[in-house]
Symmetry: C2
Subunit: 151 residues, 2 copies
């Protein structure tokens, strides 16, 4: 009602933000020879070696899928499979040197994202933005969690 048809709505803006964020991260992953799924798995390994079962839970995917993702990361040399010290069924997924280096640069990139995103905002604008985002996220989260149980 208040703007022309070519002006993006607030919903448009939020959706574009989501698209741009995805694209930016995907481009970053591709530069490292990673896919999105493998990058997510690697990100979980920040906390140290974990079993494939734990990875499946953390990523909310099936154990079978983790097998495939780990296969890929082993092929590219970022992780290795090691025997679990006490459970001979389980496999510990550990970072190789290359994987550790890559993960370090990913953590740095995450930190640099703050300036990239918010470098154009004043302190006050950033504070207000955070407040509004908290409210928006709370509403969205409630909706998503509700719909998760009522398909």
């Amino acid at each position: 009602m208040s703007q022309g048809a070519d002006t993006p709505t607030a919903v448009d803006q939020v959706l574009e933000l989501a698209v741009l964020l995805n694209r930016d991260m995907q481009l970053s992953f591709e530069r490292d020879g990673l896919t999105e799924a493998r990058a997510r798995l690697l990100w979980v390994l920040r906390g140290g070696p974990v079993t494939q079962r734990e990875l499946a839970d953390a990523l909310a995917v099936t154990p079978r899928n983790v097998t495939g993702l780990v296969d890929g990361l082993v092929a590219t040399g970022y992780v290795a499979r090691a025997p679990h010290p006490t459970d001979r069924r389980a496999v510990l997924v550990t970072l190789t040197d290359a994987g550790s280096t890559l993960l370090t640069s990913m953590v740095e990139g995450y930190a640099e994202m703050h300036d990239l995103l918010f470098g154009g905002l004043s302190e006050r604008q950033l504070r207000d933005l955070r407040r509004s985002l908290a409210i928006v996220n709370d509403r969205l989260r409630a909706r998503v969690e509700q719909d998760w149980g009522a398909p």
Copy 2:
């Protein structure tokens, strides 16, 4: 520096927003028997029938991929292939009645998203949010478009 380790950073908030938006839309698509890729294709058909070549350009995917997506939507009965009036090579992808109905509800859902997202904000908060999002999006867009040509 200013908050505890368990408080989400501004980057965390933006990333969570993106994740939640994706999840919400995906759940909505699933309810309609749609996948994300097929929903995007359907969304392009808002403007009327288009050729598969135009769809490939609009979706930024290969023409071969469009063939598969249209196959799926034909199987579920949401679109149909029609001959192009002047170009016998081309295929016009058109909405069926079911597809048209579905698209209408998708458009309605898009409109309702405004209240879902911003119903908890005051007029002033929403204005400020839009201003900040415009700034953030501009910076991100510049970065993504720059990296698109320099891998």
